[in-house]
Every structure is written in structure tokens, then in C-alpha cells.
């Protein structure tokens, strides 16, 4: 329903709404920052998926002779103190960061949607209980929550994803719930009830699809912050552990020791994280502008 407005605008602009190309160029012109963000995100996704293709060397092979090799030659972004190729580690790191970012966002959204939907649609005691639960979870700072979760689950890639996803749940649940509350009163839901459709079916068939827009808005906004949370956890010693090449750990560990003697170890992962997060944020802003009618500019 949110895009309907844009469709109207497109028609007004005299564009052919059936041509996907002109639609694409419209969005690019209307949201240049968003387009740039989308480009960055797509680039990272492609690199992550085809990491073995982009990487020039194995990211875990150590080599005493190439320890701290400066950029150039075989290691064109240099090598870390274990002689591992920086470019290949950053390429594989994209995989890890995207797994953490997308994995935790999807996981958090999944549970958030279920909780928000059920609590908003059914209301009553279920709502009261879940609302308190959400209040509780939101009273804890995100990083503290992630820290406690990471400590209790133990260090591993999967557990880091879970730890980062937990604080996302209440956030998503709250938004979905308020959307559902509004949707519950919609005429088509009333109509579905009238024809005797089961409550659960209505909730998932008719209410859920209409919460997709705010969900995408939330999800893209969370993506970048999930990647940064992993970096902060790494800094505190609780992020994705070795041997996974995590950007956060690469940056936080080499920042201390090599910032002057081997700055490439600090600059490149720093650029990788900032660029990836910047891209998702740009994209997230544009998505919100497009999909969220209230905040449309």
C-alpha cells in the first residue's frame, strides 16, 4: 500500500509504470543515496557469496616469511602478522559479517514477528505477558544484553549470531504489534472473520503480509547495527572467534599493536566495516522513505 503512492507519482511523472527500467531509473534519481547504498550492499553480497572466487589465497594459511608483508605483489592488501593474506581475509570476512548481520536480523525478526503478531492479534493476557517481557528486554542496553548472551552461550559464530539477534526481538515485536493492532480493525479482516476463517489463519494470511513493509524497514536498519555490535563484542573479547576472519576482531586486535608499524592491518578492515555499515544504512534510509508512508519525505 505504501508503494501505491509512488505509483501515483510515477504516473504523474508520465513514466510508463510497466517498464521496470524506467521504474528503476526513477528510484535512482529520486533516491541517489539509497541507490549508492544498494550498490554497496550488492557488492558486498556478491563478494561474500563468491568469496572463493575473489580471494587470491587461502585466508587461514600462515607463513612466517610473509609476516606483516606490506601491500603489493602477491599480497596486494598486505599480510597480517601470521602472514595471512589481508585481501583474502577481508573477502572471507564479508561472508562472516553478512552472516552475522543477516543471520541475526532474520532470526531476530522471525521471533519478533511471531511474538508481535500473536500478541497484537490475540491481545488479552497473552498480550499483557509478552508486553512485559518486551519491556524487560528493552530495559537492558542492547550491548549489555548481547554481552550476557555471548558470555552464556560461549564463543562461536552461531552463538554470536544468536546473541546479537536476541536484543532485536523486542524491537521488532513492538512495531509489529502496533501494526497488527491497527490491521485487526481493517474491514477485510472483519470480512474474513465473517466468512468463518480461523483466527490463526487470518493472522498469518491477512495480517502478516501487511506487516512486511515495516518489517523490511526495521530489518535494513538493524543490519548495519548488527555488524557493528559484532565489532564491539570483538573489542570486548566476545565476538566471532578464530579461525573465522571477522572484520571486528581483525580491527580491534590489530588496532592496538600495528597501527603505526603495519597500518594496512587497521585501515582495510576499518574501511570494510564502515563501508558495509554505511551502505546498509543508506539503503535502510531509502527503504524507509519508500515503504513507510508516515515518514515519507
Amino acid at each position: 500500500m505504501a508503494t501505491a503512492d509512488h505509483q501515483a507519482e510515477l504516473t504523474r511523472a508520465g513514466a510508463n509504470i510497466n517498464s521496470s527500467w524506467s521504474r528503476f531509473t526513477y528510484y535512482v534519481r529520486r533516491y541517489p543515496l539509497g541507490a549508492a547504498g544498494a550498490l554497496i550492499v550488492i557488492a558486498f553480497v556478491v563478494i561474500a557469496i563468491f568469496a572463493p572466487f575473489f580471494a587470491t589465497l587461502d585466508p587461514t594459511t600462515t607463513n612466517a616469511r610473509t609476516s606483516l608483508a606490506p601491500p603489493g605483489g602477491q599480497h596486494f592488501l598486505g599480510a597480517d602478522f601470521m602472514g595471512r593474506d589481508m585481501w583474502s581475509r577481508i573477502v572471507y570476512g564479508a561472508r562472516i559479517s553478512l552472516m552475522v548481520g543477516i543471520g541475526s536480523t532474520v532470526l531476530g525478526c522471525f521471533f519478533g514477528v511471531i511474538i508481535g503478531l500473536l500478541s497484537g492479534y490475540y491481545g488479552g493476557w497473552l498480550d499483557l505477558i509478552t508486553q512485559r517481557f518486551i519491556d524487560i528486554m528493552q530495559a537492558l542496553p542492547l550491548l549489555v544484553m548481547a554481552l550476557l548472551m555471548a558470555a552464556s552461550l560461549g564463543p562461536s559464530l552461531e552463538n554470536t549470531i544468536i546473541a546479537i539477534s536476541i536484543p532485536i526481538i523486542p524491537h521488532v515485536a513492538r512495531v509489529i504489534r502496533s501494526n497488527t493492532l491497527a490491521l485487526r480493525e481493517m474491514p477485510y479482516v472483519e470480512a474474513a472473520k465473517a466468512v468463518g476463517m480461523s483466527e490463526t489463519k487470518i493472522a498469518f494470511r491477512h495480517v502478516l503480509p501487511n506487516t512486511i513493509a515495516p518489517l523490511i524497514v526495521l530489518g535494513t536498519a538493524q543490519l548495519g547495527s548488527a555488524i557493528l555490535t559484532e565489532a564491539s563484542l570483538s573489542f570486548l573479547g566476545l565476538g566471532v572467534p578464530e579461525p573465522h576472519p571477522s572484520w571486528g576482531r581483525m580491527l580491534s586486535e590489530s588496532a592496538a599493536e600495528y597501527v603505526r608499524t603495519a597500518p594496512w592491518l587497521v585501515i582495510f578492515p576499518g574501511i570494510a566495516i564502515s563501508l558495509a555499515v554505511f551502505g546498509t544504512n543508506l539503503l535502510g534510509d531509502a527503504v524507509r522513505d519508500i515503504l513507510d508512508p508516515r515518514q515519507r519525505s
Partner: protein, 530 residues
């Protein structure tokens, strides 16, 4: 009358002499030292880390102490402290100390021989009061009793001769505690007879010490006080050292790669590279198949390329050796030709690896049929980094290992439960003596031998070297033990680490020990030339 042989009697006068150049020391000033983490308490007898030693040692006095002005700790560098002199009896089982008189605890109560007895009763578990943790109880396993003869004389009675007792008493880990203060108070408000009084310990922030005006050595210490500031982040520590907010870094804090950075920003800083007496080692659970097969363990011992570890992790500065710290710093290190005979220490790495490969091939492993396992280690960089290299090296002998990082606080418990197959471990040693190192880490009953290595033959040799009075004969026995541990693949030592300790040149009178990091923090003759 008991006949005594005087081994060493040192007059108080010795202290003013010798190693320090003769220029006037200035008194006063607060020494500002960096600290890396929050020590659990300041009770030396309950802890086993330099995080406690560095700020707590200035509070206390020992009976005897390794010379604070010499770089190496050895039998010859033991100097008097609360004990004026000492002597063994003829049977070499009784060690008698004559004590300083007129010494006062920081709270004003007089120090007597009874305090010495109280301290060792506490360590031997004989007193009513108990230590929460007693990590070095095993050091005194041979002490039968400590007896008091008047206020100024005390005798250690041993089961059998043990010349190394004096070495252990000279470690920073062996301060004398007062009778009149209980163990719990010692953790929070320690009382000692040392050059500095405890003032305040603000958790995660700072530890403050002030000059002890009534210190029994007149005119000492020079400093008015010491302030240890806890800075958890290493980058922040380095930056605040080069900006001269501190006089001294934390012990061994400036790693080899960091040194260049520090030197480029503070070119006149004095930095000393020294071993920490901490070895990286491999632990293998011999109860877990296929590692119950000695051949597999031998192949692993052969596959280790020690030089690669040293080159990568210490830019070539680390040293190869056995369990004891290698020469020249270590007093018990093996000569090169003895060491190179041991499994995996031969100079031809390719040959070793080929032999290891052959063993593995005979056992049916190959590039297509690898042995899959996990390498467990603590989730801290100093543990993880060597583990990553080890995994890489083991690929060559068809072992495909996956890294399992363990929440750091659970590491010892996990190893003690034998809940691991292969592990990367670090072992720190409190004093450069086989009675400390072998007994703590390889004897059957030690609480610090968490890998539970237990070989009756090694046990016998360990006991034998302990009673041996002749240093050269003892050394030969030590090398024999090293060879046996190597053969058993008990805990293959990968390398011994080195690191830097830095201070600004206006700090004078400080000497870093090069074969131990736990005993050079009395600070009584340190002064500031500002």
C-alpha cells in the same frame, strides 16, 4: 649445641654497595605505574599472577629475596631480607634463619619469629585460619615443621634434604604474613613489613601505596608512594605511556611488534626485552583415541616447526627449549646438542616432518583420509594465535583440526575434566628452579598439574634431583627429566616467549629480572630523577 654450616652471611652494609653507580639518589615523588587488569586480591599467597605480584610485592618482606639489582635470579643472587643470616645443619634437613630485630608491621605491631611460623602453618594447612586458595602448597611439600627459637630465630625442618628451599623462599611469591591479621583481611587490606604501606585498592581503577616511614632499612624507600592505574585497553596503555602520563609500563606489556611503535613515539624510553618464563605448549589427551596411540602423539611432536612459531609470533626473538627456561637467561636450560637429540627438536624440520608423515601414512592417514580433531584453547589472543599456527602445521601430517575456543574462565576445569583431545596451553613458572617447575606441572599429586601427567619414573627422577646438592649433577638429572617428558609427549613445549618492559629514563634504580617476572617488584631503591 647444634653445629651449623654458614653458607651465606650478609651484613646489612652490603646493600648500599656494588651494583648501583655512585650518584646521589633523590627522595620523594610518586611512581606512576600502569596495570593491565583488576587483580582478584592483594594476598600474594592466594594468587598466582604478575597482576598481583607487581602491586603487592612492595607491601611485603620475605625472609630472603633474589637481588633486586641483578638481572638474573639464581642461588648466588639470594640476599637477606627479614633474615639477617641463614645456615643448614649437617643433615641438610634443618635450615635456620636469624631474624632482623626491631622490625614493625605496618600497623605498628612488632614482627617476630612467630609470624614466620604462622605464615608457613597457613601454607601447610596447619593453622585454624585458612587460605581460600593455596596455589603453591606443593612448594613446601617437603617441609615437616617450622619451629621458633625465641623471637629472632626460626628453623625449617625438612623430611629430606632440599637445597632449592632457599630459592623458593627467595621468590616474590614467599612473603611473610603477620599472625595477628587473618587471611580474609590480607586479601583486602594487606599488612606487611615492606617498604610501602597499602593505602587503597579501588577495583578496576587503581592501587595506591605509600612510603613506610618505619621501614627497617633506614633511608629506604626513596619514593613517597606508588600508584598503579588499571587501564584495561592495551592501546590506551601504550598511548598513555608514550604521552608520559606514566613512568613505567606493566610487566612484559610491550610485545615485540608494539616495541617499534613505542620507540618511534618515545625514543628515549628504556625498554628491556626479556623472557617471561611463560611457555606455549601442546597438551594431548592420551585417553582420547586415536591419541591414545603413542605413535600419533610422536608424529605430532615431530610435526611442530618451532622456528616458524618463533618467527611469526615473536619476530624471531622467542627461544626454543624444554620445560625449563632455555639458556642464557635460564639457569637450567639444556645445551644445544642435548636439546637437538630430543624428538622434534632436530635442526632439519623437513626431515622431522617427513618422519611424522611416514608414521601417519603407516597408520592409514593420507591427504584424502585425514585425521579430524579439535584443538581447544582459551579465547584470548595469546592462546588463539599459536593454536591457529599449529592447526596450519598439522595439516602437513594429515591432521585436520578445527579450533575450539573456550570461555577463558573454564579452561583449567575443562582440561582437568579431560574434556579435550588436543589443546594449546600456556604455562608460567614462578621461580627458575626445577623443584618449582617440574613439581608444579609434572608431579602426580600437584594441584597445578591439571593435565594429570603421572609417570613413576619421572616422579623418581624429580625427587632425586630435588635432594641433589651438587648443582652440576642436578642439572644432568634435570636434562634427563626433560628428555623423558619429551619422549612421553607430556606437554611438548613449543617455545618460550619474550616481551619488553619499558620505563622512562628519569626512573632510576630499577632492574628487570630476566628469568622470572614475579620477584623484582620490591621498588625499595627505585627513585625518580625529576
Amino acid at each position: 649445641m647444634r653445629k651449623t654450616t654458614t653458607l651465606a652471611v650478609a651484613a646489612v652494609g652490603v646493600f648500599a654497595a656494588a651494583t648501583l653507580p655512585a650518584f646521589a639518589q633523590k627522595s620523594g615523588g610518586i611512581l606512576k605505574v600502569q596495570h593491565r587488569d583488576n587483580p582478584a586480591s592483594l594476598s600474594v599467597h592466594e594468587e598466582a599472577t604478575v597482576s598481583v605480584q607487581m602491586p603487592a610485592m612492595p607491601i611485603f618482606s620475605n625472609l630472603v629475596l633474589f637481588d633486586q639489582q641483578k638481572k638474573l635470579q639464581s642461588v648466588d643472587s639470594i640476599t637477606p631480607e627479614l633474615a639477617k643470616s641463614w645456615a643448614w645443619d649437617d643433615s641438610k634437613t634443618k635450615l635456620t634463619f636469624k631474624l632482623e630485630e626491631g622490625v614493625k608491621w605496618h600497623d605498628g605491631k612488632p614482627f617476630t619469629a612467630a609470624d614466620v611460623k604462622c605464615t608457613f602453618d597457613l601454607l601447610l594447612g596447619k593453622s585454624k585460619d585458612r587460605l581460600r586458595k593455596n596455589p603453591r602448597a606443593i612448594w613446601y611439600r617437603n617441609v615437616k615443621d617450622v619451629t621458633v627459637n625465641g623471637d629472632a630465630e626460626v628453623t625449617f625442618v625438612l623430611e629430606k634434604p632440599q637445597p632449592s628451599l632457599l630459592t623458593m623462599l627467595a621468590s616474590g611469591y614467599s612473603p611473610i604474613y603477620p599472625c595477628h591479621v587473618n587471611a580474609a583481611t590480607m586479601r583486602t587490606k594487606p599488612i606487611g613489613t615492606g617498604p610501602f604501606k597499602f593505602v587503597e585498592f579501588k577495583g578496576n581503577e587503581s592501587i595506591t601505596l605509600a612510603r613506610n616511614e618505619n621501614y627497617f632499612r633506614k633511608g629506604l624507600p626513596y619514593l613517597d608512594g606508588i600508584e598503579f592505574k588499571i587501564i584495561a585497553n592495551r592501546s590506551t596503555r601504550m598511548l598513555s605511556f608514550v604521552s608520559k602520563d606514566f613512568d613505567m609500563t606493566f610487566s612484559s606489556d610491550v610485545t615485540i611488534p608494539l616495541l617499534k611503535d613505542v620507540k618511534s613515539q618515545a625514543p628515549d624510553a628504556i625498554c628491556e626485552l626479556h623472557p617471561q618464563y611463560v611457555s606455549r605448549n601442546l597438551i594431548v589427551n592420551e585417553k582420547s583415541p586415536p591419541f591414545d596411540n603413542p605413535k600419533v602423539r610422536r608424529a605430532m611432536a615431530l610435526a611442530i616447526d618451532r622456528q616458524a612459531f618463533i618467527d611469526i609470533l615473536t619476530e624471531g626473538q622467542g627461544s626454543k627449549g624444554g620445560a625449563m627456561l632455555p639458556s642464557p637467561e635460564g639457569q637450567w636450560g639444556m645445551p644445544k646438542e642435548v636439546m637437538e637429540k630430543m624428538t622434534g627438536y632436530g635442526p632439519d624440520v623437513a626431515k622431522n616432518q617427513a618422519e611424522a608423515q611416514k608414521i601417519m601414512t603407516e597408520l592409514g592417514y593420507s591427504a584424502s583420509n585425514t585425521l579430524k580433531t579439535k584443538i581447544s584453547t582459551r579465547n584470548i589472543a595469546i592462546y588463539r594465535d599459536p593454536a591457529v599456527i599449529l592447526i596450519d602445521q598439522l595439516k602437513k601430517i594429515f591432521i585436520e583440526a578445527e579450533l575450539e575456543v573456550v570461555e577463558t574462565s573454564l579452561w583449567h576445569a575443562k582440561v582437568a575434566r579431560r574434556d579435550y583431545t588436543v589443546g594449546m596451553n600456556l604455562t608460567g613458572v614462578g621461580a627458575d628452579d626445577p623443584d618449582v617447575n617440574f613439581v608444579e606441572n609434572y608431579s602426580c599429586k600437584s594441584e597445578r598439574n591439571y593435565t594429570q601427567y603421572c609417570n613413576p619414573e619421572a616422579e623418581k627422577l624429580i625427587d632425586q634431583q630435588s635432594t641433589e646438592a651438587d648443582v652440576n649433577k642436578r642439572r644432568e638429572l634435570v636434562w634427563k627429566i626433560e628428555a623423558l617428558l619429551n619422549e612421553d609427549v607430556a606437554r611438548p613445549i613449543i617455545y618460550h616467549d619474550k616481551s619488553n618492559h619499558c620505563w622512562h629514563p628519569h626512573l632510576k634504580g630499577f632492574v628487570t629480572h630476566h628469568n622470572g617476572i614475579y620477584s623484582n617488584w620490591r621498588f625499595e631503591k627505585v627513585w625518580l630523577d625529576k
